[in-house]
Subunit: 436 residues, 4 copies
């Protein structure tokens, strides 16, 4: 079973002219929370239990932590003396909020066979009832808690994507090569449009979120930046193009790589993107629908920043900055292959437009920008100030969402970030170059 | 639910005068295989899934591997063209038999969320039917395969004990401190008998198994050894005695420790036996029945060889050699607190006899003997030659069985072995000293 | 013995109006190369041999590698069939130039007890003679090789600083607490001027090197950037100020730290800057002149980026961006406490001006900017393209030089870079904040 | 320069009928101490400085530690208020004597560039003068201190061998492949005698040292052991024989190996003994005299216990127990290729006798016996009780001495011991098998 395309899985309504109404929030809450549960339906209790590497979390932990978020940041501060579902959950399912208190060690999340999956689901119901009670109360919620509920829903959407990336990694550790869903839709073969270069002029530009509707703190404040003239590739790099890099000895030529990237190649023995497997004469690729032949027309996926950068160098180009990407995306419609399509895999490129295609959905696009604070950024006060700000070091920005991102989650100003050696996200490459 | 005392959980009949009959074997097979399943009844699918450290295995893996043993060494060689239940199980559930072929990497056994627990149980039934068909066939089994079935049953009993030690370790990783069984019987407080020294004279002695009934290859051949006069403690060291060592700074005095032992103390930060926890004013201990106050009258348990050795040095004594232990045990009845008691924890010492008490059951007793081949030992031909022989290095011998050993599994000549820093087995200390 | 202040240790003349003349180059070559040797005079052959950690290199290796640079990039390409001093030195003393070929593994540089120190000094003389022959030849050098000689001299100055930081680290590993120089000048106690905030307005600014005189490739191209209004601290943070942070529990309060910084605190057990030692009632600090009482009036030194950032957060400020730093420095004279002073330690702050003081010398100042390519940057062709470009990831920019930097080496556009956890460089903190 | 054969490098006279006289001791002291210094003559200060791996120590450290031994255990307890040469040397050069106090961490011995080599040599002279004063004093030394001086000389001989094995390892880390001595004598090619099996009958035997002359505590007490009939190979295995094992896929066949041994093969990528190198078509071997072609007629050397055991299994034999070895050696003369020959490498086998040849010298012979206490063993009281006893775990016994052992150091009862994966000692293989 997989999420069906006709279900508005994770829509979060947020009024253009301000905060969502309580009724909007309650409806969104129901939709988003249900979507997380549906993502777990193809999984056994065992699948939901295991942590395949320290960077990943068990699906059961995602289910519990997103619930903990509402319990800790919405129910506990609300008047009326909420009693926690279980006193030790405050520690067990705290991810990284030092201000809240101690955390169960991250690499040991997979040890928690208790609470069982059914107990965690009961925890979800318990919290859901109380949050919905709050949202449905005659007085409604004050503005501040309402904003926290909205944040919690976007937080939950992030974990929906992580849940799928973590499950994919777990299944990849099993030599039986199990599939998460057996019946994802087949896509017709395409002949990807030729890569074109779209030109943008120089100037002082406004970047960051303008405050209409929801955004994370790290997308703000809106600020000016001088951006030189640049050109952007009309679509992401395809498997066929990346395969040419591989075949040209890309993984054996240190001169193409950043120094740390070359170290990573040697330390980990990388020879191709994550989930590529040589079988018989050709390459196969592990997808959430199982192992398949590698399709040349799909965007390359599951590459690290180091690989994206080396590929760009080999191609005589470079990665875009996040400013460049955001400027280009500001002009396009936010349409694409998101989790709601049920494909759960990047889709082949379609007809070439005069605007960049596939900026949204399919694959997160690595930028050359390291993740840092925007000018004037200050983290919010309190524990939620730890949400984004403290990670602003040693990570690179990715833009645009992927085939496992909820459609309502992403926007042109959205900043995703991962360390430069991370490969288990649905991350790909779009080329850029200096303008002439 | 736990194994009830009145059930003959794992009796394996083995004729004094030779191999068991096919009917004996079939009855034993049913009993032993059922006992393994019953040990998993208090566990959820999640509990059976997780591997808490590389030394431990998931309960589900134990269920599958013991089945793999019969499939690989009994069904496959049997005539009639047995088709494996699943072709990849040959690799997934091979523990360490290089002669059989590749193995799924030991530290990654916990990654296998597929096959699910119910599928592994189906695998067990599938193999059980076919093994029982073989045993019930009119011709019966030839001698060699019958001996392999018998070996497989003793192998399964070993894994029953490992399953419990591994589950105990897994549950100890959970801050919720869950219990495996909630209702293990309470034992009356006792006043342990004073430790007495029982004297044995010097001489050339016969050691090792005499060939009547089942024994592992490492207990043979029977051979002579000169054993000097020695004295053996009348019972294992108690928690009270060990606590005196702890309180006397035992874990802070390097002069009491072997060099490698002292390194282990510092590397791991050992301050007491595994599963001891300081709570409020006093020591508690984690048991399969949950966290309890430490009882002074129970044998100390879950100590490494290094700790056993340091304790003996502190006490002005030493550990017995395995020859000394075997000579003392040869004169006593094999009675004790085994898994069938349902206690699943060492029992307090009882009235002091003129023979050593608690040699069998309660706790495995570390000896000062490193695990090596007996004079004239040769591993059997073929894959089963890997069962014991290749581990004869870097391990120390333990004797006598524990409170989680099946009663029918152990004997006076039985040689258990673990690395000197292992603590998650039910291992304790009996003192010895040179004769006068 | 230490370098005496009156010696123009490492002056490199570079004409404002273009490249230095061959005579200039030859003079600079003699001066710079001699300075490196003088830095080793207080060291025994053993001191020059040992590598105290993988990040550091033996002094002997610095002596050889800087020579290898001239041999490989100047002598080998020159006409006339230069024969290498020793064929294997090409590998032994190659730092990281993949284009040149294999490298002796970095963490094993300390294993090379052969060639001996005297042999490495002979290698230096051999190469010096030939380089000077080239420079003195009637035809002179063509432009390109002359530029490489100039680059080699700046390269050698970098290694002069590294040699001193690496020796300091090595000596710190010795419980005897040996000093590099016993007789560094005493500085009178001062009362550091109050920290003032100097304001700068917003606008589009030109950054990067303008091409007059020498600069590294990473300082180019000159480009525009929009810089918001900001305020800069009038001097670096002092030990007294940093001690207030330490005393306020700075190293025990996770909310002050970046997530990776807090991990570093816990992993390494940081409690104070590197080289601070608690002795009796107070703090001491290890200097190149030995262990001394910590002086409150000196700039704090040997802090990582993480510590600098946490200190700034605690102080209610932030670190400057490299653009902000460069704009401020562009208006000031490049004067300060450099290696030529012989102090080899940061000097106390002096009278407070209306311009920022101590921007140059004393301590490298961490910026909040991650080290990346300037817009339009392209690494040079060939092996020398590896000099800077491939390190543009996972590092933070530092500015201004230190008390062990040669005065002629640094400039307002100079970009130094180290990973955020590096502490063995002479790195300190200058605060900034957003303009009003 | 190398020790010349005609110099009695390290003779220690020890009267058959009791302790050596003070004059004997003084003469031995001079000889042994001088020999250590002579071993360092071919080495530069840099060679003496570096620690090539945690198991090895710098030559300078050996020079200082052996001096520390006399200072700590002879001079300090002597009457007259000896003042230590340097108060911190007590910590710096303490190897592992917890009873004496703290130790400089073993893996950081190579960091100590101060004291310099010349200062360590002055330390030696300082201590030598005072020890000789004591020995030459009219009263002489009391028995106990005299025994400690004698122990110190045997201790120093052990370090002479370690110094050479550690220097060999250090030089092997240098791609220049430097030699310790350039001019070791050439040995004529031989045709090694066919391996014969020498038979020994069963019985209760006395083992261990009889108390006449010096022995280490671990060789005592003399005790009885039942030893079955066995046969011993007439000479050690040769390179030719071992090469047949290598060529037969010995390093790729897990069934030949102990489990831990096979892990070591895979972890370290072993394909041949340490110091074997494939060059062009054939094998070369690194010796203290430099890199040479592998000679088929020499005993194989620098193999671990694991390799020795796997070779024996492949050859259809086993390793001898230490009892078997000692019984065989008790009947032979202690002659052989020791350090005094100046060869510093195992010599080819010579004419086959009816007694086992090359038991002494050439290569240490791995036994199948783990290193443990003899029955009745008790370590001496005080710090010197740490000399041997605390290492009686996780190590295997080797017998007979090697080509870098001083001739007067070894005897039939001598027990050397190293972990089973150690290869940098001069360790080889002699086969044994059960008697018929």
């Amino acid at each position: 079973m997989r999420p069906t395309p006709d279900t508005p899985v994770t829509t979060i309504r947020s009024g253009r002219e301000g905060a969502p109404t309580p009724a909007d929030l309650a409806a969104s809450y129901r939709t988003v929370r249900r979507a997380t549960r549906r993502l777990c339906e193809p999984l056994s209790a065992e699948d939901c239990q295991v942590q395949s590497m320290p960077d990943a979390s068990p699906a059961k932990w995602h289910l519990a932590h997103t619930t903990w978020f509402f319990e800790t940041f919405v129910l506990e501060p609300a008047s009326g003396g909420y009693r926690p579902f279980h006193p030790q959950f405050r520690v067990l399912f705290n991810s990284y909020y030092q201000t809240v208190g101690e955390q169960h060690p991250r690499p040991r999340r997979g040890m928690l066979t208790r609470p069982r999956l059914d107990e965690v689901l009961a925890y979800r119901e318990h919290v859901d009832e109380r949050v919905l009670d709050l949202l449905d109360s005659p007085r409604g919620l004050a503005d501040a808690p309402a904003a926290v509920v909205e944040l919690g829903l976007h937080h939950e959407q992030q974990h929906q994507e992580l849940l799928l990336t973590d499950v994919k990694h777990l299944l990849s550790c099993n030599p039986l090569r199990p599939a998460y869903v057996a019946d994802s839709p087949a896509m017709p073969r395409t002949d990807p449009p030729t890569l074109r270069w779209l030109a943008y002029g120089e100037g002082v530009r406004w970047l960051g979120h303008d405050g209409r509707g929801f955004a994370f703190d790290n997308e703000r404040p809106r600020h000016r930046s001088f951006v030189g003239a640049f050109e952007l590739g009309s679509r992401p790099a395809t498997n066929a193009e990346y395969l040419a890099f591989v075949s040209d000895g890309g993984y054996r030529r240190p001169e193409l790589w950043l120094s740390d990237g070359w170290n990573a190649v040697q330390t980990h023995g990388w020879e191709a993107p994550l989930y590529w497997e040589r079988r018989g004469g050709g390459w196969h690729v592990l997808t959430l629908g199982g192992l398949r032949e590698l399709r040349p027309d799909e965007p390359v996926c599951h590459v690290s920043f180091y690989e994206a950068d080396a590929y760009a160098t080999w191609a005589g180009a470079r990665l875009p900055s996040e400013a460049e990407w955001e400027l280009a995306a500001g002009d396009t419609l936010k349409k694409g292959n998101f989790v709601e399509s049920g494909l759960l895999h990047p889709a082949p490129a379609n007809a070439a437009p005069d605007v960049p295609s596939q900026l949204f959905g399919d694959v997160w696009e690595w930028t050359r920008s390291s993740y840092g604070p925007y000018p004037g950024y200050r983290p919010p006060a309190g524990a939620l100030g730890e949400y984004n700000g403290k990670f602003m070091c040693n990570q690179m920005v990715l833009r645009g969402g992927s085939c496992v991102t909820p459609a309502s989650h992403v926007r042109a100003t959205y900043r995703n970030f991962f360390p430069p050696d991370a490969r288990w996200q649905f991350s790909g490459v779009r080329l850029a170059r200096d303008g002439r």
